[in-house]
Amino acid sequence: MSEQIPQTAEQETIGTKEDKEARAAQEAAGVEQTGVSGHAAPPAEHGDPDFTNPLRDAQDRRLPRIAGPSGLVIFGVTGDLSRKKLMPAVYDLANRGLLPPGFSLVGFARRDWEDQDFAQVVHDAVREHARTPFREEVWQQLSEGMRFIPGDFDDDTAFKQLRSAVDELDASRGTGGNYAFYLSVPPKFFPKVVQQLKKHGLADAGEDSWRRAVIEKPFGHDLKSAEELNSLVHDVFDPEQVFRIDHYLGKETVQNILALRFANQMFEPIWNRSYVDHVQITMAEDIGIGGRAGYYDGIGAARDVIQNHLLQLMALTAMEEPAAFDAASLLTEKLKVLRAVRLPEDLGRHTVRGQYADGWQGGTKVSGYLEEEGIDQASTTDTYAAVKLQVDNRRWAGVPFYLRTGKRLGRRVTEIAVVFQRAPHSPFDSTATEELGSNAIVIRVQPDEGMTVRFGSKVPGTSMEIRDVTMDFAYGESFTESSPEAYERLILDVLLGDANLFPRHQEVEESWKILDPIEQYWATHGRPAQYASGSWGPAEADEMLTRDGRSWRRP
């Protein structure tokens, strides 16, 4: 053991104030620092700090990235997300052998449970929702490290218990003081939990270990609240150690956007204003707000979806090539493009919001938003939102990006459609090309992940007639079954400290800067348009595109 300057990335990013100052001093003194992201070596626990593992080698690509010794603490462990996504994801990771031996899972919630009760809940959740088959030996390995802490978020004794549970796990399971705290709780509890973590010393990583915070959307409801939330969390955790989950970014197709654009030669040359007419990014849900009235009312579709998911998808679609595939370079490029976003001057003509009315959705009669339980009759919350954005840079000037999202639409689908300009000249007469639309590249994010290329082709027969055909790449066909759930990937990345797929606070704040003026305009102008459930949104949204001489794709 020595007191040397930490060398590995993990050690460098461990965050207490003193550390930060010390690091700033080192930087000033020209001490070389390694990058903060990427595939960092697992943190040192003991032994030689300069140790490089001889059993690892870049050539040896069979060996998976296994997280270093660590544990995951989930707050709000009884919630839906935790049962349906987080617990199964943890099991699936264990089943694929990607969790370290001794990995521990600590649940925190207001339930009168013992460790065994918690293990039973996890067991049931895994049985029901896990992607990979249930294997007794994996379960046994995992269940040994499960602990449950009953208590409220303002209950000091519960946090003391948590503290001792964490210390106990370090001793009995060798977790090495490395913990990720997953805050799967409503946003109003964020401050409380974060402060409790600080108060009980749970956020302070010891030497050679890390403490990370994982938070879910919403990241505030406007710029001001987002900044407040960020400063609150950053007061306790180093910004580099805060992981914001946007589960869309964990999806294979979204990661594939970057592969598609930057690993190929055939798409990037036409990925600009010379060839692209416009881009449509759609996220449609077929369900209503369900039981989430309390959360949803007053927030609305734009804040719930556009601010995070759609603007992230847009940033990935529009950004320039990053210098490297690491968190810092990706952040730089995404920020650049988000900063270049310009809102339409006339927000009334180029944004639309709507509320679903009653109607028939897929064979079921459903009630309208205002009739949902717990919704004020006079609510102006948007369940549908469509906006037109411009990106002011050389690549995209003049190419509109249409973003839309809504609940109770035709079907559940998320896709990015890059629609190309028509051929500048057609040697065929107009009857031949009557049925020909614009070429398009559609990235289907969910469901049926994949990509479609649409282009014209001659219809077999004697006359010259050209019609749209599609060429299809489906993940389900070329790489069936193995594609992991988004949460699996994201949880593993948190444990590895790889921040590539997590939006940073600057992006969150930048996104609010885009959305805030629209929300302010909506708050003072008119009411949401009504649209029938099961349709593809209000007529106003169609008019918005017709005005530009375009139309929405039917996804």
Binding site: E45, R62, E137, F479
Partner: protein, 311 residues
């Protein structure tokens, strides 16, 4: 659906494939590779089953080449090719063609396989049994990017291992090596935690286990220490011990899927180390189709020049 063709040719088989696809209404699925299985009648069923299961992860066209011995001397002089084309639900997620060769065509199986390969897609050859001496020089092996052999299926594995060492060409790989991946990743993870220089090592396994020998050679190459081979009752590899100055790192799997990991100064922990089914091994093999340099290093077992670890 199944189409049986007797005394046929590759172009007729190609036609049958198109016909089969048309009939079930799924023309051109996204198959990513062609898998050629060279086997005998006895092992064909299990191999096809494993390949079909693996095809759920890697949709592929599977070509099964079965060399038949004709019964009568007159038949032996006659050359004949029979084929069984399976598409749709009968063939996992891809297509399967079972080729049975009689007589002279058995020596020219590559002429049947070549026209049936998917255009521009990688080719993998797998010999579940009776792999050729030099896989890369075999007519079918020469068509492939990846050649999979299995040291578990030979009579004298350690001797065969030496043959593999001599005949190695980039693209060769062996299921005995694939079986080690969980062991190797757990050992690497253990060393990530211990962060100690290893000064001694031992591999405990049943006698004549080729995977254990490969594991020992890999450890020797990477750790630059002599690795003791300890014979136990098995099954397969039962334990690996890495000695450091602060104590021993042990992964112990006396039986069954549960192993115990012990690190110096830390409590023992259980971890799941299952013996995997052949289909899982094949699925892992197909994940990367470039040369497996680490397998070459493990085969040779010699300490090679230091390459920097993951940064």
């Amino acid at each position: 659906m199944k189409i049986d063709l007797t005394d046929t040719t590759a172009s007729k088989i190609n036609k049958a494939l198109v016909q089969g696809r048309r009939a079930i209404g799924t023309p051109a699925v996204g198959m990513v590779l062609t898998m050629v299985i060279v086997t005998d009648e006895e092992n064909a069923y299990d191999s096809i089953k494993a390949a079909e299961e693996a095809s759920h992860e890697h949709p592929s066209r599977t070509l099964v080449v079965i060399k038949r011995q004709a019964r009568t001397p007159r038949d032996r002089t006659q050359s004949r090719l029979d084929a069984e084309v399976r598409v749709g639900a009968d063939a996992g997620t891809g297509e399967t063609v079972v080729l049975r060769t009689y007589g002279e065509v058995s020596d020219h199986a590559d002429s049947v396989v070549l026209p049936l390969l998917l255009p521009d897609a990688p080719v993998v050859v797998w010999w579940p049994v009776e792999a050729p001496e030099v896989p890369s020089k075999d007519p079918l092996g020469a068509l492939a990017q990846r050649r999979i052999t299995d040291l578990y299926a030979v009579e004298n594995p350690l001797e065969a291992l030496q043959t593999r060492v001599r005949s190695y060409a980039p693209g060769d790989t062996d299921l005995a090596w694939t079986r080690l991946t969980p062991w190797r990743s757990m050992l690497a993870a253990a060393l990530d935690q211990a962060r100690e220089r290893v000064i001694s090592a031992a591999v405990e396994a049943e006698a004549d286990n080729p995977a254990a020998e490969l594991l020992a050679r890999w450890l020797e190459a990477r750790l630059h220490v002599r690795v003791d081979r300890v014979v136990t009752a098995g099954p397969v590899v039962t334990a690996v011990r890495l000695g450091t100055e602060r104590g021993e790192i042990v992964i112990d799997r006396p039986e069954g899927p549960l192993a115990t990991l012990t690190l110096p100064g830390q409590p023992p922990r259980t971890l799941a180390l299952k013996v995997r089914a052949t289909s899982e091994l094949i699925a892992e093999e197909l994940r990367r189709l470039d040369a497996d340099e680490m397998y070459a290093i493990a085969l040779n077992g010699e300490a090679t020049e230091e390459t920097p670890a993951h940064v």
